[in-house]
């Protein structure tokens, strides 16, 4: 879980990547070419940023002909916001350990 968060934080720490992700969230699926035009950086640089976002699970891509299309996967952000799932797993593991401690303790 921590690793997932690290990947997300790392992916989103860069303002160019954040901007790309936001554009995909707001504008739906877009080609790398369409994303490059307003970004102010080269297409290879955009592709590199998109690869980092994809690795973090924030976007998904598909190829069609010579173009690559990407769409946002905003559900990947849930670990950053939803602490309840993380804490539930944390406490369940702690309860397991507590049971072991109780068995070892004197009455």
């Amino acid at each position: 879980m921590i690793e997932t968060r690290d990947l997300l934080f790392r992916a989103l720490a860069d303002p160019t990547r954040r901007a790309l992700f936001e554009r995909l969230c707001e504008g739906g699926e877009q080609s790398v070419g369409a994303l490059t035009v307003p970004s102010g950086i080269s297409q290879p640089a955009v592709s590199k940023h998109l690869a980092v976002l994809r690795q973090a699970g924030l976007i998904a891509g598909r190829h069609e002909g010579r173009q690559s299309y990407y769409r946002a996967q905003p559900a990947a952000l849930a670990p950053l916001v939803d602490w309840t799932g993380r804490m539930t797993r944390f406490w369940e593991a702690r309860f397991d350990d507590l049971d072991d401690v109780l068995k070892r303790m004197d009455q």
Partner: protein, 136 residues
């Protein structure tokens, strides 16, 4: 505070242990025992007592807010981006103790934004809740 109220959530974990409440209480309140299953920290069943639980990944700040020996123990549980209260309730059963842990709190957007401000996150975080709402 409406935003914070909307973001308030609870985590509840409940389990029955084949041990009497007195023993479970000791495991909850004696630091050397607590360290074995939860985290290392100078916990004490004294209202107002402040301490910190530490682990290799970080620490949480705590303050005891409620003590009812062998029945109920509550302390605040504040970590990075999370403010919450952990309440332990012990109920005697025929064969032992029903232990209930309820953690209630919130990770306010403004706090996340505060932590992210240095990296220029506020605008992004402001949109985060909306995005997630749309996905669900």
């Amino acid at each position: 505070m409406t935003d914070a109220a909307a973001a308030t959530r609870s985590v509840i974990v409940e389990r029955e242990f084949a041990h009497p409440p007195g023993k479970v209480w000791r495991a909850l309140t004696q630091p050397h025992l607590v360290a074995e299953w939860l985290m290392a920290g100078d916990v004490a069943p004294t209202p107002g007592h402040r301490f910190a639980f530490g682990a290799d990944w970080g620490h949480v700040d705590c303050e005891v807010v409620e003590v009812e020996p062998e029945r109920r123990l509550a302390y605040s549980w504040d970590g990075k981006g999370l403010e919450s209260v952990v309440t332990w309730t012990l109920t005697p059963t025929a064969t032992g103790t029903l232990l209930r842990m309820e953690q209630t709190g919130f990770a306010p957007d403004n706090k996340l934004a505060y932590h992210g401000a240095k990296a220029g996150w506020p605008r992004f975080l402001g949109a985060l809740g909306d995005l997630l709402a749309r996905v669900d």
